[in-house]
């Protein structure tokens, strides 16, 4: 090994370059690394010259076509001395060769993260790097972290390395990348932080063997304990222990060997190199080798005295037989060898359930198994509370939707909407409203009155006269001689969060107010929450905020969808379109809790003198009340997302209004004259005097 200390493998100030940096995994990991420690000076990927990977809250990563280009472009002080290889397996050899040829004297260490590199290529990589006097770690390493320096290469620690790797005095050397992270978390329970976390990789050939790392760990001034996670395969442990004996190794080891259960079974473990292929390569052999080196039986958490006695004599270390026994073993080791903890142990090693719902089963279990939710550590606690509290709606995993759709399909015979045959939908009564609701909610309307109400909303959205901005948009397009679709787009282009889109705000407003009320069906009067109480509370809060805003001289946030520019002249105002829907509900014996709330709110604001009149509950509000009323049970049942539900009122308005825009277009094209929407120069006001 060329490096003479662990810090030479990775320390603050190292400059890292990443191969195939635009790949899915490499990019994600590089962004997280850059945010954590900012040590990436650039990356390369064939065909991606001059691209830049944006790093939120960090320095962007420049991308070059080749490694040689990266070296040429970067100033000498930024040239990489570390290279992380994320290339596809068949490209690894070429990329490492390029680094070796161009980076000699500059690059000191390569970390090959790529999995499934052939053994032949792996052996060649080692040979190439030996000749170039470069260290190489991998293949299939997850990387290395230097916790006290706060730097890493690769993905060790995931997107929050600081959470697992508290700086301290244990160095973990692990055949499993995941176990580096996992063991670091467990050791916090023993008050042990981490000096270095090293994922060796566990391919058939481990390019930097255990003995080399152990020699460096001995020299590392911060490392007081070396923790090993070992799997079957290879003679690395035998070779390492021979070396430790020869040099009277001074640092204690804490060891866990896994994989014995697979012996005698024709199964392969998860790691490619976990193959027993001779003496000293099986898990049992490795356990024996460590037990011989330690001169003691494996650590038994139930008999720590025996372990202490042996350890006091040999001072070489302990082997744990279960992973969680590493923690009590570490405590014994620190106590006997008089090593002070790095910090106060953060939590005991115990079952700590985060979410529990054993239902009726809990009553039938012994107390030790009928667990209750424990103490969730921060920041998970807050996030969990927030996610569970926001219990409305479904959480959907993201995926590439380029050629995929839940909403539609066509098997060559039948077009379908969410799995329902479109021709069959056409046969139903009120097919349009039925089909649109299905398309927007992912399931057919549950109750007969829903399509009817929805249709009324579409009709209400059709127009608000030729002076409305959206009608003007269609008329302008028609006047300019456009095709009908352009006029319809102009209509859609002239609606927005102020005109028509306020329903989205209203939906968010109602969700905020009702999400914790236990409301299940907004159309069920009997199970409606106490509205008077809620209205009173809201008005009091509103009044308080209004006076605070006035004192501060800032504009007050208005109640969405309350009031209308036209229907505002009376002491008590009504939007006629809202009235029709309200009357229909009444006539049908239906109830909508959201609409009821809106009316009560308008009245109470006036009654308490917050406003001088009863504002109209406008059409956007009634659209929202109807749509959210239909969507709410689906939110409660986690069948749709909250985002989908709050979009529904605006979509309804837009769909109705675009038909109205088409009407304006047809009328205007028939009866209007070309360019008649143009404003004559004489009517335009100059607000800037000529300056030339």
């Amino acid at each position: 090994m060329i490096a003479t200390t662990l810090a030479r493998i990775l320390t603050k100030g190292d400059r890292v370059a990443v191969s195939n940096v635009t790949g899915r995994e490499a990019m994600g990991v590089s962004i997280a690394s850059q945010q954590y420690c900012g040590n990436i000076v650039g990356g390369w990927a064939l065909g991606h010259d001059d691209e830049v990977i944006a790093v939120p809250r960090g320095r962007d990563i420049r991308v070059f076509g080749q490694f040689a280009d990266l070296l040429k472009a970067l100033p000498a002080r930024e040239r990489p001395n570390k290279v992380v290889v994320y290339s596809p397996p068949d490209a690894v050899y070429g990329d490492v060769k390029e680094v070796v040829e161009n980076g000699q004297g500059i690059v000191k260490t390569l970390f090959v993260v790529t999995e499934h590199v052939s053994v032949e290529v792996t052996a060649k990589l080692r040979r190439l790097c030996d000749l170039a006097r470069m260290d190489i770690i991998g293949c299939n390493t997850l990387g290395v972290i230097n916790a006290p320096a706060g730097v890493r290469v690769g993905a060790v620690g995931g997107d929050a390395p600081g959470e697992s790797f508290l700086p301290g005095s244990a160095t973990i050397i692990s055949n499993s990348g995941n176990l580096v992270n996992t063991i670091a978390t467990y050791l916090q329970s023993a008050g042990l932080g981490i000096s270095f976390g090293i994922s060796t990789g566990k391919d058939p050939l481990i390019l930097t063997p255990l003995k080399d790392f152990l020699v460096l760990a001995e020299k590392d001034p911060r490392t007081r304990i070396v923790v090993l996670y070992v799997e079957p395969g290879g003679t690395y442990e035998r070779d390492a222990l021979e070396l430790l004996r020869r040099r009277n190794y001074t640092k204690p080891l804490l060891v866990f060997v896994a994989g014995a259960f697979a012996e005698g079974r024709d199964i392969s473990l998860g790691h490619a190199g976990g193959v027993v292929d001779g003496p000293c390569t099986s898990a049992t052999d490795k356990m024996r080798l460590f037990d011989e080196y330690f001169g003691s039986a494996p650590f038994n958490p139930a008999d720590t005295r025996a372990a202490s006695r042996h350890l006091a004599r040999t001072r070489r270390g302990l082997r744990a037989t279960t992973l969680h026994a590493l923690v009590p073993a570490a405590k014994v080791l620190m106590e006997v060898l008089r090593l002070k903890p790095d910090f106060k142990p953060v939590r005991p090693v115990a079952l700590n359930p985060w979410i529990v719902d054993l239902g009726a089963l809990a009553d039938k279990l012994p107390a030790s198994l009928a667990l209750q939710p424990g103490n969730v550590p921060s920041p998970y606690k807050e996030l969990l509370a927030q996610q569970l509290k926001g219990g409305l709606g479904r959480v959907v995993a993201r995926q590439s939707m380029r050629n995929a759709s839940h909403a539609s399909s066509n098997d060559g015979a039948t077009p379908r909407v969410y799995g329902y045959s479109l021709p069959a939908l056409m046969e139903r009564p009120a097919p349009f409203a039925q089909a649109v609701l299905l398309a927007w909610l992912g399931s057919p309307p549950a109750r007969d009155f829903e399509p009817r109400l929805f249709e009324m909303c579409l009709t209400a959205s059709l127009t608000n006269g030729p002076g409305s901005i959206s009608a003007q948009g269609a008329k302008l397009a028609a006047s300019a001689g456009n095709e009908p679709h352009t006029a319809m787009m102009a209509t859609l282009g002239t609606i927005g969060s102020i005109h028509g889109g306020n329903g989205k705000e209203a939906a968010r407003f109602l969700v905020r107010l009702f999400r914790e009320t236990g409301l299940v069906d907004p159309y069920d009067r009997k199970k409606a929450p106490n509205l008077d109480q809620r209205v009173q509370a809201y008005v009091a809060d509103y009044q308080h905020r209004k006076s605070a805003a006035k004192n501060a001289g800032v504009e007050m946030e208005k109640v969405p969808c309350l009031g209308h520019p036209v229907f505002n002249r009376e002491a008590v105002n009504y939007d006629p379109r809202e009235r029709v829907i309200s009357r229909y509900l009444e006539a049908q014996g239906l109830y909508n809790v959201f609409l009821d709330f809106y009316h009560r709110l308008a009245r109470e604001l006036q009654r308490q003198g917050v406003t001088s009149k009863v504002h109209a509950v406008n059409v956007d509000a009634v659209l929202t009340c109807v749509c959210l009323g239909i969507a709410w049970p689906l939110l409660v049942e986690k069948k749709i997302t909250l985002e989908r539900a709050v979009d529904l009122p605006f979509l309804t308005f837009a769909l109705g209004r675009v038909a109205g825009g088409a009407a304006e277009y047809l009328d205007h094209r028939e009866s209007g004259t070309d360019m008649d929407m143009r404003v004559p120069v004489s009517e335009c006001r100059e607000l800037t005097r000529p300056r030339d």
């Binding site: 032949e120 994989g259 998860g270 279960t322 090693v349 359930p353 985060w354 529990v356 998970y380 996610q387």
Partner: protein, 414 residues
């Protein structure tokens, strides 16, 4: 995916002629009486062998000498039908009997000590080459770029006391053996033994090799890989086919014969440790799995769907467990698992098993909440643990919970 292995017959038929490796004549299916008569007439005697992948001298008991056609036909039938270490042979074949004065054993493999290929030669056999004592074998570490040259081979043989013309002849053969090893993407090849006749002729008399699935050279060697009968379960077969169809993420499973705990495990190391804990405590895990590698949603969902299709309605407890992920997005994997459970229940009817979950990593809480919502909808009892509870403790709890259910309902389902 696993590395491809071959036995002697493929070597005799395909590789030996290509690399000019001296082998005895052989006769494989279809064996006709006339051909057999002609061969045995010339050979004097033959050896009937099963075409099977049974290492560690496992097939030794089924290697039989035959001297006449009737015996040969009968033995061929018997040997082809015999099970060896749980494996059925693909068939049987007969090889020319080579009387020998000397046997030499060789292996080429990669050494974890020298991190390079290594050539081992010995006059002792009858065991794995690694098990032969250092004093009885010579191992030559090789430069992977240069390979084995005749001088190195000759020196190794000289150390074993083999000199003169035999040394030269063997050295040339061994160089050809290396050529085959390196140009075909092998991980390991063994000739056990080379037999040297009194007139100094050399014959490769048994052979086995493993090819590196990751080596492009092994992917297209112009032969169809032999399909040795295996004990692969329908579940393993479907999962392996699915794993082979995708290059992103892993979907590694090996059936363990258990019937109680259905384990969806993440990470090579964590899956090993968890399965070990479950096995030690009598949790009877159905299979060993490793579904790590940050699988995309669709891959995880299909993987989980296959597991559920085969086992959800038969198991006593579902365990979804991994360490603290470095790369894997937990919300993606958990949402995919949740959707797969939902679809399995939609298709096959409800289940009432407890679910134990333990994981850490990016977007953990979102993943837990998404999965818990589905489990709640399906009315499945569940417990979720975060990364602060060791995976081995979670595995212990899962076994205890499963057992408590068994005590309550002797048939094993809660």
């Amino acid at each position: 995916m696993t590395n491809t292995r071959i036995g002697e017959l493929v070597f005799l038929e395909h590789f030996a002629p290509l690399y000019k490796l001296p082998v005895p004549e052989h006769l494989a299916e279809p064996v006709t009486q006339s051909k057999l008569k002609e061969k045995l007439g010339r050979w004097g005697a033959g050896i009937v062998k099963p075409d099977v992948l049974a290492g560690k001298r496992g097939k030794a008991g089924l290697v039989r000498k035959v001297e006449n056609v009737q015996d040969a036909l009968r033995v061929l039938r018997d040997v082809a039908a015999e099970e060896i270490n749980g494996q059925n042979p693909r068939g049987a074949y007969v090889v020319q009997m080579v009387p020998a004065d000397l046997e030499i054993f060789t292996a080429i493999s990669y050494s974890s000590r020298t991190l390079s290929p290594a050539f081992t030669v010995s006059l002792r056999g009858g065991m794995e080459v690694e098990a032969i004592s250092e004093a009885d074998k010579v191992t030559v570490p090789l430069n992977v770029f240069q390979g084995l040259n005749a001088y190195q081979a000759s020196e190794a043989l000289a150390k074993l006391g083999l000199k003169g013309k035999l040394n030269s002849r063997l050295s040339i053969v061994f160089v050809n053996l290396w050529d085959m090893f390196i140009t075909t993407g092998m991980l390991r090849c063994e000739v056990n033994p080379w037999r040297v006749t009194t007139d100094g002729r050399i014959w490769a008399c048994d052979f086995k090799a493993t090819f590196d699935e990751n080596n492009f050279k092994a992917r297209d060697l112009g032969l169809s890989w032999p399909e040795y009968p295996s004990r692969e379960t329908a579940f393993e077969a479907e999962m392996n086919a699915w794993a082979a169809a995708s290059h992103q993420g892993q979907a590694h499973v090996s059936s363990l014969g258990g019937k109680k705990i259905l384990p969806l495990l993440f990470g090579g190391g964590a899956s090993t440790i968890i399965t070990e804990t479950l096995t030690q405590l009598g949790g009877e895990p159905i299979f060993l799995s490793d579904f790590g590698g940050n699988p995309p949603y669709e891959r995880m969902k299909k993987t989980a769907a296959i597991c559920f299709e085969h086992h959800l309605h038969q198991c006593a407890l579902l365990l979804i467990l991994g360490g603290k992920a470095n790369n894997t997005l937990i919300d993606v994997t958990f949402s995919a698992i949740a959707d797969a459970i939902q679809e399995c229940v939609d298709a096959k009817g409800p289940v009432s098993i407890p679910v134990v979950v333990g994981r850490g990593g990016a977007r953990l809480v979102q993943g837990m909440v998404a999965l818990s919502k589905t489990l709640s909808n399906l009315r499945l009892p569940y417990v979720f643990f975060g990364p602060d509870t060791p995976i081995t403790l979670v595995a212990e709890y899962a076994v205890a919970l499963m057992r408590a259910g068994e005590q309550r309902k002797p048939k094993g389902r809660l």
